[in-house]
């Protein structure tokens, strides 16, 4: 028996919490200390589960910030990269996570604060262009800004489904430690480019395509899915229907 109390892999698999945890990990969920039962199970059975998932061509990663996730390195389990807007929103949330002002509210921010953070760092024009991936450059300012808010909210929901944030109530986003994954390339003492190359080699991240959309300061590597719920506006073109995330073949 190992130190955790799980003698065999069978014991781990027979744990009532395992099926849900396994499905969540395989679907890209990040598990941290707030997921009390799952986190405890992963900690207790870490050695056994690392070996277990390796057989599926996956690495069970445990970061010192206190979260786990599954990283496919082979071709048995399919993998994806986060979309461009998800990456922007994720990095902005990570910045907010580092900001002391958020600890006053126990690590909770509003959508408004998130958009304000993005606007401060990117600038309003770049932000609007990044979240309105249109070939035409004629934007109705009001519609374009509303699109930004909608797309940010959609990205937050996607990130919540992956365990980067919690959505305890409407317009309240609770930041989780797994957001620090967005800061990985700039965390170490080495140059960001060097750290990024290392992460690419480990399969943790993928570099975005080099081509940029015309006039965009920040091109999107994988534009977001269109918003079906948005009412049709006659004075602006509809967002292009493209895939949300770049999926690699399994």
């Amino acid at each position: 028996m190992n130190k955790s109390g799980y003698a065999l892999l069978q014991d781990v698999i027979m744990d009532p919490a395992f099926p849900d945890l396994d499905v969540a990990l395989r679907r890209g969920r990040h598990v941290d200390r707030d997921d009390t039962d799952w986190y405890a199970l992963l900690l207790d059975a870490q050695e056994l589960l690392e070996e277990f998932y390796r057989r599926y061509g996956c690495e069970l990663i445990h970061k010192t910030d206190g979260y786990f996730y599954l990283l496919p390195t082979g071709d048995k389990v399919s993998r994806k990269q986060l979309g461009g807007t998800d990456m922007l929103v994720g990095q902005a949330l990570a910045l907010l996570y580092l900001d002391p002002s958020t600890i006053e509210r126990g690590g909770a921010v509003t959508h408004e604060e998130l958009v304000a953070q993005l606007s401060t760092v990117l600038g309003t024009d770049t932000l609007v262009a990044a979240f309105n991936p249109s070939k035409r450059k004629r934007f109705d300012e009001r519609i374009a800004q509303r699109n930004v808010r909608q797309r940010v909210a959609e990205a937050v929901r996607r990130l919540a489904s992956m365990g980067f944030v919690d959505l305890p109530e409407a317009d309240r986003v609770r930041l989780r430690s797994s957001l620090m994954r967005f800061a990985e390339p700039v965390r170490g003492l080495s140059e960001p480019a060097e750290a990024l190359a290392k992460l690419v080699a480990q399969g943790e991240v993928a570099l975005a395509p080099l081509e940029k959309e015309e006039g965009d300061d920040i091109g999107l590597d994988a534009p977001d899915a269109p918003d079906d719920s948005a009412p049709a506006e006659p004075d602006i073109e509809a967002p292009e229907e493209e895939a949300d995330e770049a999926e690699e073949p399994a």
């Binding site: 499905v23 990990l25 395989r26 679907r27 890209g28 200390r33 010192t64 206190g66 599954l70 990283l71 496919p72 389990v77 399919s78 993998r79 994806k80 990269q81 986060l82 990456m87 922007l88 994720g90 990095q91 902005a92 990570a94 910045l95 996570y97 580092l98 900001d99 002391p100 002002s101 600890i103 006053e104 509210r105 126990g106 993005l118 760092v121 990117l122 992956m162 430690s177 620090m180 994954r181 967005f182 800061a183 390339p185 700039v186 965390r187 960001p192 480019a193 990024l196 992460l199 943790e204 991240v205 993928a206 570099l207 975005a208 300061d217 920040i218 091109g219 590597d221 995330e245 999926e247």
Partner: protein, 436 residues
């Protein structure tokens, strides 16, 4: 507010009707605080007009050193405070002599709020709960031994409504004070980190630990003492029910609700603080300690702004599990069509009625009944027929009668009535030898 019988809507309407409003400058607030401090320091119960003016001038010298016309300002401030019912005249002498004034209950509430002497501490809580316990024990004894309604009013209902309610209110008021202090505490942690970052680590840690200990102690005292208080109140309620004293019963129940609320407050605050405590500890450990120079924020900001290569995080994306189900072969359902009937019905033999035989039978019957004239035979056979058919039938009757009987007629045959509306030429009939 002592308006228990009124609904919320009525209370709000009353406030709107009275156009209640408060408008206080910093100087006026300072003036109220100065009056309160003088009341406590010198043991004054009221102020005359000169004392009010002097106190205002002292306060204004500190708060607005550059101001002029202080006496005039004092008159104006006193008038405004009187209008807002913050200063109350207590001598009741009107114009006959200069007035005596004191701070109203409203003014005292405001001053106490700003002086922050109402924060719940372990000491104040212990003092309040032990006083409460002693008072409740006396009330319980009185409830047990009270012989009549008057004694119940003075020894049970009165203390429950006033003395004990005041003590419980005191705890609740201090709890609200502590809530405010908690908000300030969170702001303080943020301010320390924003200003000093890594250097603030130890102070933040100490603040967290101290607050955590305070809340733990308070919660412990609340949990322990609320159980005793509730047990005492329950005893009083039972005595009131047994003695048929609904007022005392209601007062005890109201206090039990209040004590429950006080205990729940302690647990809720400790739970909320526990989450906050964990979050801040994690933040201090994972963010502040690992990034003492706060370089990570700047580097992440640069990364988000688009400096450097763009990248995307890789994650596992296994599809949902395929749940196979048992396949049951479903037979082909016939096409839904309208049922079709044969276009033409098949021919079927129809015997029908032999009208000739019927006529023969009827004419024969008429002859057998003794009819010897064609008119009487016709009348008998056609009487059941409708009028339009009689004429046609009359011809057939004549033909049949001629077959069944020997018919004779005059050369000049007479026209006679044969039933209703029919006139025919008369024959005589002789059934005896019809074959001729």
């Amino acid at each position: 507010m002592a308006l228990p019988a009124r609904s919320n809507e009525q209370i709000l309407r009353l406030i709107a009707q009275q156009q209640v409003s408060l408008q206080l400058s910093t100087l006026e607030l300072g003036f109220l605080v100065a009056l309160h401090l003088q009341t406590q320091g010198r043991g004054l119960t009221s102020f005359n007009e000169a004392q009010l003016e002097d106190t205002f001038i002292e306060a204004s010298l500190l708060l607005m050193p550059e101001a002029d016309q202080r006496k005039r300002r004092a008159t104006h401030a006193i008038k405004r405070l009187r209008e807002q019912r913050l200063l109350a005249r207590v001598d009741g002498q009107g114009v006959t002599r200069a007035g005596e004034f004191t701070l109203s209950r409203l003014a005292l509430g405001i001053v106490e709020f700003y002086l922050e002497d109402g924060v719940l501490t372990r000491e104040s809580l212990l003092l309040l709960t032990s006083s409460l316990r002693g008072a409740l024990e006396q009330v319980r004894d009185a409830a047990r031994d009270s012989p009549d309604a008057e004694r119940w009013q003075t020894a049970v209902v009165g203390p429950l409504r006033v003395t004990i309610a005041e003590l419980v209110d005191g705890i609740e008021r201090r709890q609200r004070g502590l809530d405010l202090q908690q908000e300030d505490f969170r702001s303080e942690i943020r301010r320390l980190l924003e200003e000093d970052w890594f250097a603030a680590l130890t102070r933040c840690q100490a603040l967290l630990d101290a607050t955590s200990a305070t809340l733990q102690e308070l919660n412990h005292v609340l949990l322990r003492d609320s159980t005793h208080l509730l047990a005492l109140l329950q005893d009083i309620e039972e005595h009131a029910i047994a003695a048929g004293q609904p007022e005392a019963e209601a007062a005890a129940r109201r206090l039990m609700d209040q004590v429950d609320r006080i205990a729940a407050w302690g647990a809720a605050r400790q739970r909320a603080f526990s989450d906050y405590f964990q979050y801040v500890h994690r933040y201090l450990r994972d963010v502040v300690r690992l990034d003492p120079s706060r370089a990570l924020t700047q580097r992440l900001r640069d990364q988000l702004a688009g400096r450097g290569a763009r990248f995307a995080l890789t994650h596992s994306a296994a599809g949902p599990l395929q749940m196979l189900r048992t396949v049951v072969s479903v037979p082909d359902k016939p096409k839904v069509v309208r049922p079709r009937a044969p276009r033409e019905k098949p021919l079927a033999p129809d015997e029908g009625e032999d009208r000739e035989a019927i006529l023969t039978e009827r004419v024969q019957g008429a002859l057998e009944q003794g009819a010897r004239a064609l008119s009487s035979v016709t009348a008998l056979v056609t009487e059941a027929l409708p009028a339009p058919e009689r004429f046609v039938e009359a011809g057939r009757v004549a033909h049949k009668a001629a077959q069944l009987a020997r018919a004779q007629s005059e050369i000049d045959r007479a026209w006679v009535a044969a039933g209703d509306g029919l006139v025919i030429e008369e024959w005589s009939l002789d059934p005896g030898d019809s074959s001729e």
